[in-house]
């Protein structure tokens, strides 16, 4: 297993880092400023944890499926899941993005002692920051999506250093993958983590995140007005400010899409316990994918306690969602073919590739 030198060469220097934050603070050499993650000095160590945990370095999808879910996937669009629903929180936190189930579920898990604290992304659209939330109030204050890549996982390294366990976290798909790589543990022998470090992982749907150039764009466009909320629905990205709202065409923010996201194979956090996204229809609800047993237990508890309201996922929507996810994977494969040997894209076993092509063909027909 290589180390920092290759991480810098293959990922950082090529602009393929998604700022997940997993390598930040593993040592004194990798640091962050805003959403940038950089190695500030060569550590001189040949085999390093940073390379091992980075979601953008070598990652075998079937191996990961086996490690997380204990079996290979059948669905190559959404990965392994046991149920898909529409859901919303009965008491939606202020500023929650859609149905607010992410905030509600983390809050519930914290109150029930299922997790000791939660690693979330707080701050605001223009100035997001990693947060280790220890109270439901702190969890609520992190509601709402920030669309830039925030290196939230640096909080996990800090928490591990303090010996915390049972941590819950909410992350983008790359962040979920990074934590799974950490748990899988193909790391230098001196890097050992408690099995109980992470107690619950909620993954978000994410087709791309944006670079910090977004801030300059928003500041110019809104003339420095405070932004209350941002969303990227089908009609195009928009913000809500105190005095009104603004909307742009997707093409206007496309230049800010992080390069790493173009190589990302996972748009629904396939290795999370639960995955949450929009419905693309009703902003008051979320799409919820239940992936692990632990995830199912939490959702059932939430339903029992009346924290969540859950309904069936409309049958007609599934092909739309699957097509969107597969579409993205096909774009990545095409890109990876154009630039063979480029880091940042996972390894896909032949069996998976064949099945994926079949499923993709099916969708198009």
């Amino acid at each position: 297993m290589p180390g920092q030198e290759l991480l810098v060469k293959e990922i950082m220097d090529r602009g393929l880092c998604s700022s997940c934050g997993m390598c930040v603070g593993l040592c004194p050499y990798i640091k962050t400023a805003g959403d940038r993650v950089r190695a500030i000095y060569p550590c001189g160590i040949e085999e390093g944890a940073c390379y091992g945990v980075c979601p953008k370095t070598s990652l075998d999808i079937s191996e990961m499926d086996m490690f997380v879910h204990g079996r290979e996937r059948e669905d190559h669009a959404l990965g392994i899941y046991s149920g898909i629903y529409y859901a919303r929180a009965t008491a939606r936190a202020d500023g929650a993005q859609y149905g607010g189930i992410t905030t509600a579920l983390i809050g519930l898990a914290l109150r029930e002692g299922l997790i000791s604290s939660a690693i979330l992304t707080g701050g605001d659209i223009m100035n997001p920051r990693p947060v280790l939330a220890a109270t439901p109030g702190e969890v609520n204050s992190c509601a709402g999506s920030k669309y830039t890549g925030v290196p939230t996982l640096l909080e996990l390294n800090r928490a591990a250093g303090r010996g915390l366990t049972g941590i819950g976290l909410v992350g983008r798909p790359c962040q979920v993958a990074a934590v799974r790589k950490l748990q899988r543990g193909k790391l230098p022998p001196e890097r050992t983590y408690s099995d109980r470090l992470v107690g619950l992982m909620l993954g978000l749907f994410c087709f791309w995140s944006l670079s910090s150039e977004l801030y300059g764009f928003l500041a110019r466009e809104t003339k420095g007005e405070e932004i209350i909320k941002m969303d990227i629905p089908l009609e195009g990205p928009g913000v809500l400010t105190k005095t009104g709202s603004r909307r742009w065409r997707v093409d206007e923010i496309r230049p800010f899409i992080n390069k790493s996201c173009n190589y990302c194979f996972d748009s629904t956090s396939e290795w999370a316990d639960l995955s949450v996204g929009s419905t693309e229809q009703d902003p008051g609800w979320n799409t919820l994918l239940v992936r692990s047993g632990q995830g199912r237990d939490l959702v059932e508890l939430a339903a029992d306690r009346g924290v969540l309201e859950i309904k069936d996922y409309p049958a007609g929507r599934l092909p739309v969602l699957r097509k969107a996810a597969l579409n993205k994977k096909m774009r990545v494969l095409a890109l990876a073919e154009k630039e063979p040997g480029n880091g940042g894209c996972p390894a896909i076993p032949d069996k998976y590739l064949r099945e994926m092509n079949v499923q993709w063909g099916g969708i198009n027909r």
Binding site: L26, P28, T32, R38, I45, E47, G48, A49
Partner: protein, 639 residues
Amino acid sequence: MSIAGVCLEKPGTKVALTGNEAIARGALEAGVAYAASYPGSPTAEVLGTLSRLAGNFKLYAEWSVNEKVAMEGAAAASFAGLRSLVVMKADGLNVALDFAGALAISGCRGGMVIVLGDDPNAHSSVREEDSRNLCKAIHLPVLEPSSVQEALEMTREAFSLSEDLKLPVVVRCVTRVCHASGDVELGELNRPLPVPDFTRDNRVITFGIQLHALQEQKLARAAEWACHSGFNSYTGPENPERLVIACGPCYMHALEALDMLAATGVGVLKLGVTWPLPHQLLLKYLRNASEVVFAEEVEPFVEDNVTSLAAMQIPRGIKFYGKRSGHVAGPAGPGIGELDPDILASSLAGIFGVKYETPGVSGRAEALELLGEKMPDRELAFCAGCPHRASFWAVRAALELDGRGGIVLGDIGCYTLGMARTGYNLLQTVHCMGAGIGLAGGMANLSRFGFDRPIVTLVGDSTFYHAAIPALINARYHNSSFLCVVLDNETTAMTGHQPHPGRSVTAMGEPARTVRMEELLQGVGLPYVVQDPYDVEATIDVVCNMLGQEGPRVLILRRTCVLAAVRGKQKARVYVDQEKCIGDSCGCGRFCSRVFACPANVWDAAGGKARIDEAVCNGCGVCASLCPQGAIVVERAVL
């Protein structure tokens, strides 16, 4: 060696003094009333000594904001009829040159002496500038002491000469003499001081070519005086065929070299007055000579002037050996670095065609071998606990994080060391005081051609007052976009902690009206932030933030020089918890000793763990804040 010696009343007694103290004593014997300087090695202790004695004598002493202002102040005292002294290193003359050149034309009234500290070999300078060529260019007489005793006498006599000529006189003193110590014979103190005055009738003006003619006359008189001055002397046969012309410490080296060669019949002419040349005296010894060797340090100054004199005055050919011929040369080549008896002996042996085994070469090797075990193998580095180390680490980290390939322009001070490993090789330009800011402004103005790298310039606090302000005004005026980081350790640390305008005390220990950096910046209209560099993580954040801003802006990294901060205090005890240290493993990679590299962070290869060299550690605790394992423990923190 002793301030008591410098002010001892008993004429005729011998006391041990350093060259710098001898200069101070010489000035006191001459009745100096006004002394000013900007600190610089090798002459920093001259004003340091005088300022401490200001109370004992009727004497005003100041650390001026820069050399030009120092020289102007001293000139004013001279215009008013007092004797005055101004002291600076060779580089300082460049700063003061505009005024010095004008002053040489207008002339002065009370005796005025300019002490120039030249630093052959650049022991504590960025270059080994030979100030004599500039002195010649502006028409000032130059005296060069070759010993501590002469440093005293020449300084004293320079005042009389200056008063006679109505022209400032330079005493050029090199590091070897400034820092040497020797027994000197004291002269009389307590010369009566005149009452200063400068009335409406006094005029000291630089104007017109008539004054140039007068200047030449003054120099001709000085040359005449030089021919009879005891500072030039000759030893050897009456009409030597072989002649060595030496000045400064090379005079002693030459005598020793001839001794080593057992060469007889070689005359040695010592020049104490190297400008203007004592023509008649020189011609007397050149007349019969067939081979002449020059022994002087750095530029072939005496050599060039004597050879041109000979070309005009002596019809037959003389063989001249020196830097121009390549015969007199140290290991780095002719005109480069210092000379010593050994170098001169080999040079002379080559010229005279005699055998000479340099004991130096083998002797040096042996000596080094003997010393080897005892000498710690240390490269030049910031002191343990130096706030600059924290500042440099933070700036470097921030630049890497910023990721836009920002550049760093340096300046002159302790932090010049930051071009080396101890400053993470950060500095990319080093020139003269204040140059970093001017360069930064120029680079920033290239944005219109598409130059878009972030620009950082690092400058010390003393340099800030000395030379930064005009460049900052220029930057503000033209909105040149760069980040100026002031490394404010609240003292002039490099030359021995002299106070500067940012402090609340003067050279003489009187309370000062502090010129606050912040107020200056407000006045210039520049935004600034003040941050403690010991808080490294916060500093990285601030630098990152400020890198992202536009326009000229200033970050003051303020933390007292650790040597000043710990003086007289019991230092904190710092040690490494051997259980917690993970040393070479992933997660650290010997961060403290290998990377951050405070001299007190040492690596115990046998144990595979870090240690603190407690004798060296100054207890700043910065390494403890950076250790990824929290393995470094600070007990009884005081800073």
